[in-house]
Symmetry: C2
Subunit: 249 residues, 2 copies
């Protein structure tokens, strides 16, 4: 049985890849991916064979990888961040019925929520929710419902795909919904270009966040009611009783 | 200014560590951590100096690391999974006011939700929530509220700390709460000993999950209303319209 890998390569820097992802990319014959991420990999693995498809051609990209494996080549489909969190692993399994002779192995990676959190401090130190603001595949009504319920549950929230050219007001809309259940003073953060050139981070309040302009390389964090600003970092304590615990030391 | 690292080492296997985490552990003078995770590291980095504290002595463990850095040693505090998701990064920032001369750098890692998801297939392919069932630091009322709202929001859910000796009925209690808003047929999964000896996975329904016995090395996944079983794997599609998209290929 041929094997095909679906590997998360982390936010972008070679060193934020797992040892396993780097080994698999090194050892495979063909690397398949979205043009932008493949360009990052070419820097680290210049001698490999690459196949790319542009954005939104996810199904074609998956089939391209399966076809290479079918030919007997060892192939890895690469995803930015993790292979599963808003990645291609699910679509690969959905398409796998057409390629019964090929086994899929998923290699996890550091998703943007984790990579961005490390830059901001520790914004996701307690229960949290990841919500994508892209309505390309999900009706806005579902997104809005999730934002509101996540806010009511006092989750720390990480927003993926907070904006794009066509959706440049979505972050503001999302903050308005979250603001129905969270205080305008809630500590929030934005990280741009995680682990890449031009990485920036900013900590601000929910009220300030709603007027910010994010782009498709931004990841946005909204704290819970315990999240605080410590020396420029966004920190969500691990539990509600940590305050008592640390006071007694 | 001295620097101290807080590094997520992933689920346990060396190869699931990031390249950066492995490099930092290799280069630091002292590695501080919880006994169980340090024992894993000793296999891969036998020549290092290790300092450990048992479970629940998190504050002591953090201070131990700071004290080493204060002495001028390069130190890394290691966490299983990610440094931020239920990790030590937040507590380090909370204690940092006592060590103003030491800078903290957080190194993200593959948290159990991501590592376990890769074993099960792609259970977290769409919006998701992470909830810990440990009521050591969080009142059960808060946990219950989050479980119910996450279920109402139709999030895919990953449950951390689903059980322990003292809390062996918590997974059942959590399933009962989730079952108020999700169908008993919802596809769920359990992974034990992710990326370690004795790794196992099982896909089952929510109704079956409520009678399962988890342990402290288990991570539990509850699907959303679109999650399906494909060839033994638990798969949550990336979006609500993916069905139409893939039907037209």
């Amino acid at each position: 049985m041929n094997k095909i890998y679906v590997a998360g390569i982390g936010p972008g820097a070679y060193e934020q890849m797992t040892v396993k992802a780097a080994e698999v990319i090194k050892s495979c014959d063909v690397i398949v991916g979205y043009t932008v991420y493949v360009d990052l990999l070419k820097e680290y693995f210049p001698e490999k064979e690459y196949l790319t498809t542009p954005m939104r051609q996810e199904t074609e990209r998956c089939r391209m990888a399966f076809e290479e494996a079918k030919k007997g080549k060892s192939a890895v489909l690469v995803c930015s961040g993790d292979a599963g969190i808003y990645g291609m692993a699910g679509l690969m399994f959905e398409l796998s019925k057409d390629y019964p002779q090929i086994e899929i192995e998923v290699i996890p990676g550091v998703t943007a929520a984790l990579g961005g959190a490390a830059v901001l401090g520790a914004p996701l130190g307690h229960d949290c929710a990841f919500i994508s603001l892209s309505d390309l595949m999900t009706p806005w009504a579902v997104i809005e419902k999730r934002l509101l319920l996540a806010a009511e549950a006092d989750f720390a929230i990480c927003l993926y795909n907070p904006s794009s050219r066509k959706r440049n007001d979505y972050l503001g809309k999302a903050c308005e919904v979250i603001g129905r259940a969270k205080s305008p003073d809630t500590i929030c953060g934005i990280v741009r270009n995680i682990a890449r050139n031009g990485e920036t981070m900013e900590v601000l309040t929910l009220d300030e966040l709603k007027d910010m302009q994010a782009d498709m390389f931004s990841t946005v964090f909204v704290g819970n009611s315990d999240t605080k600003l410590i020396d420029g970092k966004m920190v969500t304590p691990r539990g509600y009783r940590i305050k008592e615990l640390t006071e007694n030391i």
